[in-house]
Symmetry: C2
Subunit: 401 residues, 2 copies
């Protein structure tokens, strides 16, 4: 059986980022840059005033000096002339510095009437001036390829005069749920059957991580049906199957797709929940088979599908970030499988996370997973830990789950 890290590396290593597309700036938030954002202008574009006040020559800036106000330069309306000795121009935050001026006195540091000001504070050269290019220079690379764009980045790209950005196409990820026993919500449930939940949760997760989910029709437990349904998804960037990935008599995904040429890379991971994870290729289509039970399916989604989506989206595809927490319960020694205990988090008075695993960890219990805040990570063969030990956790909602 592979380790979680090896399995992730093999999945991510076999995937290529999608191609680039051009999207409007307003649509680019959360997308991953496929070309750098280079400043098309300097910001600020000129030396500008950093205050509401008066632009003047520092040579005239002695306390008590009285200067003639020869005009105003509101933002967007630069002063047309030049400032000479004994002269000042009314400026505002962002106003272009008038020619001849080399300093600004703040409004509150001068007394003004309609035509003149008297300085209360000495003004030295350069005072209250924001220099051209202080934020960025024309031609400067502001945002690198492979960056997932934040709201701040969108503002920066706008300021750098980009109405369009080149980003990686959202990966299209088809989700195939199999099983004679499952029905879509609201539809007739077969005898002894249940309502499909994995495909809906996985689709929401895919969307939250920036992918485009396609929920394929539920495939009956029939190899030909499974194969035909999966082949309908051959133009997707990734096919995720749920259920049917273990070795039971009724686990038909591997055999059904195998007849169509599925090449299986691996199908067992030393982890709990979720041992029967399968990864392979059906022609050019990567196929990730996650277990059928809901908790395993979503834990595998977090550990393997998230990096896969990120890799397809132009990101490195790292493991979901873990962080330290203090365990409020003693933990038994672990066996050879990496364990992922469903747990709640609470901030303790000292600011550290307190993590409390649920006492029952049955992988069929979806409600328990929904109420969890994090997975508590237990390495293979980890020794027993006393209450209060520091452990690593992966937060769920924060990772799109």
């Amino acid at each position: 059986m592979l380790s979680v890290a090896e399995a992730r590396a093999r999945i991510v290593g076999s995937l290529q980022p999608t191609g680039a597309e051009i999207v409007a700036l307003a649509e680019a938030s959360g997308r991953v840059l496929a070309a750098p954002v280079v400043a098309r202008l300097a910001q600020p574009p000129h030396d500008v005033s950093a205050m509401d006040g008066f632009a003047l020559r520092a040579a005239d800036g002695a306390v008590g000096a009285r200067l003639r106000v020869i005009g105003a330069a509101p933002a967007g309306h630069p002063f047309g002339g030049a400032i000479g000795p004994g002269e000042a121009v009314h400026v505002f935050t962002g106003s272009v510095m008038p020619e001849g001026a080399d300093a600004v006195t703040a409004q509150e540091d001068a007394v003004s009437d309609d035509t003149s000001i008297t300085l209360h504070e000495a003004v030295r050269a350069g005072r209250h001036i924001r220099r051209k290019g202080q934020d960025f220079h024309e031609g400067e690379t502001l945002l690198e390829i492979g960056r997932r764009l934040t709201a701040r980045d969108i503002g920066l790209a706008a300021a750098a005069n980009h109405p369009w950005l080149a980003v990686h196409r959202r990966p299209v990820i088809a989700v195939l749920a199999t099983g004679d026993e499952i029905a879509m919500p609201g539809e007739t449930i077969p005898p002894g059957g249940i309502v499909s939940s994995n495909s809906h949760a996985l689709a929401a997760f895919i969307r939250a991580r920036g992918g485009v989910p396609i929920i394929l029709p539920i495939a009956a437990d029939d190899r030909a049906v499974i194969a035909a349904t999966a082949e309908a998804a051959s133009r997707a960037d990734l096919l995720v199957t749920t259920g049917g990935a273990s070795v039971g008599t009724h686990d038909l995904v591997q055999t059904g797709l195998g007849e169509r040429g599925l090449e299986v890379d691996f199908w067992k991971i030393a982890m709990r929940p979720g041992k029967p994870l399968m990864f392979g290729h059906l022609g050019a289509l990567p196929v990730l088979g996650v277990p059928g039970n809901p908790v395993s399916s979503l834990v595998c989604g977090l550990l393997f599908l998230k990096p896969a989506i990120e890799r397809l989206s132009g990101l490195p595809g790292d493991a979901p970030p873990s962080e330290p927490a203090r365990c409020t319960a003693a933990l038994p020694a672990n066996d050879h499988r990496a364990d992922h205990l469903r747990a709640t988090l609470a901030r303790s008075a000292d600011g550290v996370w307190d993590v409390t695993p649920f006492p029952v960890q049955d992988s069929s219990m979806l409600q328990r997973l929904a109420l969890a805040d994090a997975l508590l990570l237990r390495a293979p063969n980890a020794p027993a830990e006393a209450e209060g030990a520091m452990v690593q956790v992966i937060r769920l909602a924060e990772n799109g789950l």
Copy 2:
């Protein structure tokens, strides 16, 4: 001047959640429930097998017992008959327990041929059975009103047989940028002007937080134009203006909207960056005026607009969560304004965040904000701190910024 907390409380306290709408399950992720999700069935719907194996009577479960296999019950195809003494039925994970059976032996704990099995392990009553309703019971409330739905919640609602969910309508938030000096990206920039960035960044932030942004046309520095543009947004749930909220000669939002009946609740906060924050109402329309400079505008977005969007969306509207970090630099004593230092984060070897504020904190530097990971919080009149002091930070990307 108000404190940050008082201002937030007054904003949030004046807002009401939007009404409910029905959306398809597939569209409900990230939305806030306006009605509880109640289980429409039990999960599992019957006692079911927890393993691939054989259902039998525990009375027959002695080591070495040989039982006749009278049928199979794959998932979705319950066994029609009943199990009698000396009989067993082949079952799979999730199979409905056949009538008469009260235990399951795992496949690996028995030797089977076509018609019979011999037990290798004793089987006690109840072994490997998942009881009806172990995950949830029919009629049980699974998800409460006011919960923001995760991908896991979508799976749980699906399992509970809900194809539709009642959620709060996405709040519509209009963004009005004012100023003669600003242009849309790619359009002609006026002399001495700059490209609009705040409205694009705020729109991306609003979308990331679950709102529907409307970017209004840029309003010239003219009271009538500002008022007319703002009034066109009267059906929005919130109007956000950027720029024009301070007291300079060219700050026309308050006067322009004032002529149309703007009632200002407050307009100064004891904070940096961002002192001139305005909140009020234009008729029934709440109006939040954030400063014009890009960093202040987005910091105010995080501190005030985020709780406002959450409140409109049906959530409490709490302050963005802060967490502890260790400061890698000494900090001077603070003045009477709460400070929000742009900073980078790195995990130290002991798992604690190390936070490093940028040495220059000019609020016009958008590139610096884009490269920041967090705001380092400095309370009003906070004393000086030595290098290594523990402080509180608010992470940016994790809060949608």
